[in-house]
């Protein structure tokens, strides 16, 4: 089989899943587990942003805001109301979807580059607001967030929690991929390729874009819940523009709209700094250059996916 054929084979997703499941058998120190769990959460973030940027072609530069909204909603509800983390999930979905509508409603009619800058501003607003308000804990944030538990079953052991996260993230990745091959997903890609033509063909572009935006927001919010469960403490410092750009680099690197590529891109961005400690000072500057080089040489990302409309990008 040629390389592209291998990379596009159906079983490649299962292979990735198996690799994620087997990883703790290779190395299971607490530090390694925490890095791998973070990487899995990062994969979820990249998958969510991929819905917005990759499928629908809308640039969101404040994606960390939805991550923050999800983490804070879960954190505040679980600590103030003494709820188990799982019970906050419906509220998280509602609040992040609401945030997506709130910011998307007035701005999705705008030119696409205005949307980019509005989301940038929105990301800053959320972060600064979280640092200023009392009920969000100010600059020190929220701590003492309970770990994940299902029924009476405690999942807070690092290895168990890792598996729980891998399962949730896998469902999220597959869910996003299924969404992309649905009727809605085809409409998203149509809008990405040519918004005017899509509109002329009867697609309600405004509502379709809003749907992508809200879906991305919910994915980001749920990643926030996992993040809060993992660290048990959150603060505004975790939700900076840097975070938003790193997620974007993962999406662009892997190939916008190709979920398997995005997963690989996210794992690379999340684990890269750990593997390349010596060049840590240079990595962010290198990521910036990487974005430019990819856009010029391989705008579809490094993964040799099948291009074109009407085919599955999953």
């Amino acid at each position: 089989m040629s390389l592209p054929a291998v990379l596009n084979a159906r079983w490649i997703g299962w292979l990735g899943f198996a690799a994620a499941l087997l990883a703790p058998f290779v190395i299971a120190t607490p530090y390694a587990m925490s890095i791998m769990t973070s990487a899995a959460v990062f994969v979820m973030l990249a998958t969510g942003l991929n819905i917005v940027v990759g499928y629908c072609g809308l640039l969101d530069l404040g994606y960390a805001a939805f991550f923050a909204v999800g983490a804070y909603t879960a954190g505040i509800m679980s600590t103030r109301l003494d709820l188990p983390l799982l019970a906050t999930v419906p509220a998280v979905v509602l609040v992040t979807a609401g945030a997506g509508v709130l910011i998307g409603l007035p701005t999705l009619r705008l030119r696409s580059d205005y949307l980019a800058i509005v989301t940038l501003g929105f990301g800053e607003i959320i972060r600064v607001t979280a640092g200023n308000l009392d009920f969000t804990g100010g600059p020190s944030g929220i701590y003492g967030i309970p770990g994940l538990a299902v029924g009476g079953l405690d999942l807070s052991d690092p290895v168990v929690f890792y598996y729980a996260v891998v399962v949730v993230v896998s469902v999220a990745v597959v869910g996003a991929a299924r969404l992309s091959s649905s009727r809605l997903g085809r409409a998203w890609r149509f809008i990405r390729e040519d918004e005017d033509a899509a509109e002329a063909c009867g697609i309600d572009t405004y509502r379709t874009k809003l749907a992508a935006y809200v879906a991305g927001a919910v994915w980001g919010g749920l990643a926030g819940v996992l993040f809060a469960a993992q660290l048990s403490a959150i603060s505004p410092a975790s939700f900076t523009f840097l975070q938003s750009v790193l997620v974007l680099v993962a999406v662009v690197l892997g190939g916008q709209g190709v979920s398997r590529g995005v997963v690989v891109g996210a794992v690379f961005i999340a684990l890269g700094p750990e593997l390349l400690r010596d060049v840590a000072d240079y990595q962010y500057a290198a990521f910036g250059v990487l974005l430019i080089v990819i856009m010029i040489l391989r705008p579809r990302g490094l993964w040799p996916g099948r291009a074109g409309l009407g085919r599955r990008d999953a």
Binding site: T107, D281, G288, V289
Partner: protein
Amino acid sequence: MLQVLWNGIFVGSFYALVALGYGMVYGVIRLLNFAHGDLYMVGAFVGFISLSALGVRTGGVGIPLLILTLVATMLVTGLLGVALERLAYRPLRGSSRLSLLITAVGASFALEYGVRIVAGADPQVYPVRFDLAALEVLGVRLSGQQLALIGFALALMVALHLLVSRTRRGRAMRAIALDPRASALMGIDVNAVVSQTFFIGSALAGAAGFMAGAYYGKIDFLMGFVIGLKAFTAAVIGGIGNIYGTMAGGILLGLVESVGTSVLGGQWRDVLTFGVLILFLSIRPTGLWGAPVAERA
């Protein structure tokens, strides 16, 4: 209250200076240059490094030396802007808007963290504090440095105005903003004019960065991020691509900020600014003095 207004005008003139370059580049090639704020930051660092290299220590600095440094800074940031356009943006002219925006984010990131590699992550302290006599007008304290800096900013704005409205080059810029293809057919060297636009816009940003460094005294590699967003906000308020609107937008934003923070408290300043940005884009995306722009211009 008058003091608050004066401070607003002062800060606003910085915003206007950065916004002008932002708006110029956007007007000519329809590119949101996210790296623009970072050129402001680079300007602050170039000024810092050259003053340090000249052996300037805290204390009195001659005005000629400062002007010399300012010119050198503008030259360096201007050339950096040209290089950025040549290497990153020009190969992508004609490709999708999304690709261009992502490239611009990459450029911004590369500049920020590139400077961090060179100059370190810790804030640097500017070696100059030039103390000039202050004026009292109607109970408002106008410090000498504020007056000098506003003077500089105004001079640069007037120069830009003359360039764009009175010269052949300015006419070429306006022509390209209207229709690049027709301009090329009329014999305008589009690439050369775009390079010049980048040079001027980046030089203005560098000048503002140097002046801000000299005034506030402290610089760091992320200082361009927020100012870039604010400059864009100013450009949007004034109507993007409209030079006079942009100047007015900058001053207006400075006023809104300083009045707003004196009411709400300083920690809400950025929230207020970006709130204004979102409000404007939702209600009046063409700004106060802008012409409507279609998605496919």
